[in-house]
């Protein structure tokens, strides 16, 4: 298996590697390491959330009741579904079914976009209800003053966490778009589909982040 014998675009592996397997393993390991970084990136936000929830439990309960549980739950289902289709993408790539791969990538992107659309509706509603932190923030509460301040902290974290998550999702959608383009060109074969696999890891990670944001932001209020 000589690298130089093949055309530039279809060479089986980059020249710094010894063989395709080494390249594949390196790419996967690289993505896992990147995800570890991401865990701590969100970890800082989760820590901030935990600290303030510990300091202001009542306000956090009350504030989280103002989030849209129905839309949040639907969105969780949407994202879980997209993870499922993403897993199918990798399978299609592995078994070399090009048309199925392109279709599934498109479906996964559509689900991601759907999630963002629903999230957008939620944000719009919350902004309309004066829940966006800042001068327009209003939080009618049993405890005037302090509780409003504390509830505002909840919404700061809510918007930052969901915002950063949405940004990750946007990046994921773009990534899948690029993959779909190359998949349509027939770049991935059953013996070379590492990019699909690696992008899949990223996509699932974004799903996992939401799996944690959902209970923390929507469910802590307890029964409404």
């Amino acid at each position: 298996m000589k690298g130089d014998g093949m055309a530039e675009s279809t060479r089986a592996f980059a020249e710094q590697f010894d063989d395709p397997l080494q390249q594949k393993e390196a790419a996967q390991a690289g993505m896992w390491v990147f995800l570890v970084t991401e865990v701590l990136f969100f970890g800082a936000l989760l820590t901030a959330y935990t600290v303030y929830r510990h300091l202001y439990p009542a306000a956090f309960r009350e504030a989280s009741r103002r989030t849209d549980l129905a839309l949040g739950s639907i969105n969780t289902a949407v994202l879980l579904t997209s993870s499922f289709t993403m897993a199918l993408c990798v399978h299609a790539a592995k078994t070399g079914r090009r048309a199925a791969l392109v279709a599934l990538l498109a479906l996964t992107m559509a689900l991601g976009a759907g999630f963002l659309a629903i999230k957008g509706v939620e944000w719009a509603r919350e902004i309309h209800e004066h829940l966006l932190p800042g001068p327009s923030f209003e939080f009618p509460s049993a405890y005037p003053g302090e509780a409003g301040r504390q509830a505002q902290l909840f919404f700061v974290l809510y918007f930052v966490m969901t915002g950063v998550h949405a940004l990750h999702l946007v990046i994921g959608i773009v990534l899948l778009g690029v993959l779909a383009f190359f998949a349509a060109l027939g770049r991935y074969r059953s013996d070379y589909y590492t990019p699909v696999e690696v992008a899949g890891l990223y996509w699932h990670f974004v799903d996992i982040v939401w799996i944690f944001l959902y209970p923390l932001l929507y469910l802590v209020g307890g029964p409404r």
């Binding site: 865990v39 739950s73 897993a87 699932h204 209970p215």
Partner: protein
Amino acid sequence: MTSGPRLYAMVYAALLFLLGATFVIARVDLGAFNTVAALAIAWLKMGLVVAYFMHLRDADRLDAMLFASGFVMLLFVLLALTLGDYFGRVWLAG
């Protein structure tokens, strides 16, 4: 059978079931247990995604180690020691 559409479908069904479960449990007032249950289910869901969709079960040990190291760092270090300060303000007042 470590991967394949059938397995994925089963995992997906399990995930949706857990979502339903966490949604239902959240509507019952269980006090502090609400949070515990919600987080336990979240961990379970994460476990399913990581093990089956992300193939950690058959990935080589390094990946598992790296992923675990991220969590260990986060949970036992950042969270635990930071919260140690906040709880400590009560435990050892002054």
